[in-house]
Symmetry: C2
Subunit: 632 residues, 2 copies
Amino acid sequence: MSIIEQNKLEPVSLKDVTINDHFWAPRRKINREQTIPFQYKQCKETGRIDALKLNWKQGDPEIHPFWDSDVAKWIEAASYSLATDPDAELSKLVDEVIELISAAQQEDGYLNTYFTAVKPGKRWTDLRDAHELYCAGHFIEAGVAHFQATGKCSLLDIVCRYADYIDSVFGPEEGKIKGYPGHQEIELALIKLYHVTGEARYFRLSQFFIEERGNEPHYFTEEKKKYGPGYFEELFSTFANLKEYNQSHKPVREQDKVVGHSVRAMYMYCAMADLAKENGDEKLREACDRLWNNLHYKNMYVTGGIGSTAEYEGFTCDYDLPNESAYAETCAAIGLVFWNHRMLQLDCDRKYADALERALFNGVISGISLDGKKYFYENPLESLGEVHRKEWFGVSCCPPNISRLLGSLGQYIYSQSDSEAIIHLYVSGSAKFKLANQEIKLNQTTNYPWDGNVSIQLEVENPVSFALKLRIPSWTKSAGLKVNGEMVSLENILDKGYVRIEREWKNHDQIELILPMTIEKVYAHPSVRQNRNHVALQRGPLVYCIEGIDNTHYLSQLSLPRDKELTAIFDQKLLGGIVKIVGNGEITEVYDSEDLYQTKPFTTKSFEMTAVPYYAWDNREAGPMKVWIPES
Amino acid sequence: MSIIEQNKLEPVSLKDVTINDHFWAPRRKINREQTIPFQYKQCKETGRIDALKLNWKQGDPEIHPFWDSDVAKWIEAASYSLATDPDAELSKLVDEVIELISAAQQEDGYLNTYFTAVKPGKRWTDLRDAHELYCAGHFIEAGVAHFQATGKCSLLDIVCRYADYIDSVFGPEEGKIKGYPGHQEIELALIKLYHVTGEARYFRLSQFFIEERGNEPHYFTEEKKKYGPGYFEELFSTFANLKEYNQSHKPVREQDKVVGHSVRAMYMYCAMADLAKENGDEKLREACDRLWNNLHYKNMYVTGGIGSTAEYEGFTCDYDLPNESAYAETCAAIGLVFWNHRMLQLDCDRKYADALERALFNGVISGISLDGKKYFYENPLESLGEVHRKEWFGVSCCPPNISRLLGSLGQYIYSQSDSEAIIHLYVSGSAKFKLANQEIKLNQTTNYPWDGNVSIQLEVENPVSFALKLRIPSWTKSAGLKVNGEMVSLENILDKGYVRIEREWKNHDQIELILPMTIEKVYAHPSVRQNRNHVALQRGPLVYCIEGIDNTHYLSQLSLPRDKELTAIFDQKLLGGIVKIVGNGEITEVYDSEDLYQTKPFTTKSFEMTAVPYYAWDNREAGPMKVWIPES
């Protein structure tokens, strides 16, 4: 049996999951009450909403070709929120925007403000750079989410008409365009649309876009011969001329190295994983796994951030992970979560959940301030103090992307197959599974990520046999397990990093999982030249950083001796309540010379160092920060 | 007495100096025989020479506004070469180019190919960005050098007419433009012109340009109001809008921090030092010294490279010295030599000569390949293997700048005052001084920079009393001195890092200076975050680097234990004959996991490491390089 056949997992739907912990629940509340309304306000004030009225004319302020996607992602985020936390006012606002979208849709189903209002007559002439199919993908994702959340078809119908129209334009058939998007996104969206509608043509179209990519003659080369340069000069990018930039340098099945723009890559890999699962296509899964290995073993920051260069928002070469200039776009870390979530359903290996968790607790939520009102586009691992979150961006992909992730967090926690209930992430709350023809409820209680003790209680109507699988995160060194108060040895029940407890379960059965969280000093592979002689601190899923405000503004003068102990302390008053790490670091003694270079090593003295979770940095006064600390 | 009054040094003219050592003489030969002819060929082939014919018309390939300066610097380099090594063919070629220049000069004395042929009618409308006065400065320097080398007035007359015209256009007088150049250069050139002609108006014009700079209302602000943006849009630069970029943010006397474009800064500081000396202006010398301190104690690479960012070819913030992305433009290091040379005449303190030597032996000559045919514009201190010298550049300021420095090297070695003969640099050869109404000759013999033993023999007609001053470089820890075979204690005769031997000197008096060269591990100030836990190797004036070809292509896996000995070995066959440094480094053991991050430190094993002088890197097969090595 292939790996795909062995697994066949489905995520438990976010509507069947509750989250009531002290870590995520408050973030999700802020997302609902502050972030989503604030993002609407930004979309409104910047003209993104009104652009849907299509009354742009020469001389008006510029409409950006990406704007539709921001509005769509806002609807998607709002929909997830409505799915778990109904809100009449928000629902009404969403409906109003959908009405504008409906009015903006053209007779033939086409839907794009930029090409309708600003560039009429130029549809599908710049697939490579103009984000037309990208925006379509986000509309589709929004339509699906809105339908699933509310049961309303208003937006779903619109996007189906649009998808039908796109299907009439693109495809392998005679007379259709053999192109594909310069920014992948619609591929994964069409799979979602297929799932809610059952219409196989959406699935086939997604497959066409993915499989056509990178073939010769190369579509983008031909497109530029036909229409450019000059035709779309304002969107022309130096990098876009490189096929690697948008991962069209080879057919996707032949790719084995992450290249180019990292968000494009992630969205493409998501669709590849979806297609592999749907078709039981083991070869395609293997292509995904090759890319996964290259990314996770050679190109990922310890925070789960990916894409190290700002130059083209993407990957450079293996082991090139500069800290200060790290781009590590928030959207790319979110894309990493999306992709690992899909890989996990294909193959229930903890490595995917570990990577998902690493990104989620670090490089994703660093992207939003604790008050939910400011965002990082880039997430460097070191700053001299000049980097701060902003309320909005000209290209504002990241804010609504975080919102939709927080809103849909429920779907990342659990999976199930015909015979297994699986917990990937530890979050207080509950989930409903359908197994052996009955509804089974799992109640999780944990103080995660501050400690690793997890209690799970079952609610079943009748005793029922199934396997409960619990992830043992790779960051813990000695997990313990009790079932109904009795210790269970993990030795023979570990399966790719998950304990698998197969038995007849009864109502109120109780599982205790103990995941000891110790402070770990993390070393990067020696080929990462930027981190030689440095350590990062990690405790549980959280990567830590040192900030100037807790230490000294001369962070470069601090080091951490290899042999000294560090202590974890919960501090209720700090940054909304966090476990901080304190201990003896070293700081260079006052230097006895103004010389920039000298031939004797400088001396150090003891220094009380405090580290805080990376995600929480830049939430107090401006100052320097670093994740990797010199080891002395 | 002020410091300026105490010193009053003059460099010994390059015509009175011979160089016949094994280090510089071969480089100067290559400069004459390969580099200067090759640069002429480049100037010819790229259209720089023919541009002087002024027959450019719409549709022709672009003429760059800087082109005149490349031709002028080539003439200057050729002239220095002719001064010490007559060459009829080269002389003829120079004369031909001067004829073209003569023909290109306008009736009123104006001389600029770009503004005459490409932008007629736009003279002096973009002082900030268009390099008009910058090119004029290089013509003037060329005219002075050509006159001094050959005694011919052909180019000197041209540049005097041009300078006279410029003097009629700029100045404090009613009706004249109160502007100054966006790229400083003419200021130092006018001082040179003043020295050869004795015309005070050139000196006053230089002083005007320097003193007017940074005053309010700000000239460049007013200029852009009057003519731009749009008027010169093709030259418009984002950075040029910042007054710091061209050091016009404050009057020069108030400046105390190096900012902006580093070559502009160096050329300006040169003129400031010149004016300070000429006027005995102690306040202006102090302004120079403040800037010097900020540069040398907080903003200079260990190679003497300066200007750490490529973004605007300039300075960032104190202690920000990234290695891999170091810009460290060759021209900037050359500018550092120019400036320190001037500071040294103002105040005979070895710190200036040390800095000059550091730049000269490292960040300057790294700019040219051993065969004299390829150049670095940027001189990073670390490379993954993708950085290589090139034959020429679109903006090709660096190649002729190195040539003119190598050609004029003689003038940097010695100085004299009324009563002192001073040796700053140790180079086999000789120099003639005029002291006490007689010509005194010093003959130097040394194997510098491979060892630090220097023999000096005097030739005097009659016994004569004067002070001989010899620099004790700061890199040596225990210098020794013998006069006519007898040891002399340095204790009471040290004066700002120079030994001062005042006595009656006789013919064939013999001085032996012993400057022990040991391998030094250099540590950067702990505020240089990029070099924490790293060491650089230095021996004598040479900074070393490790290259992939001698070690491993995984340079990031190498480290250097603090306690291990290193050995210096002269290797005649390597890189034209160099002292290499070898010793036990450490390399990480084969890593037992593909994980990018792990929680145990990796282990290392012994590794035979070889370091070569930094200037010689990238002269063999392509590969990685680094100066700063992790210390273990």
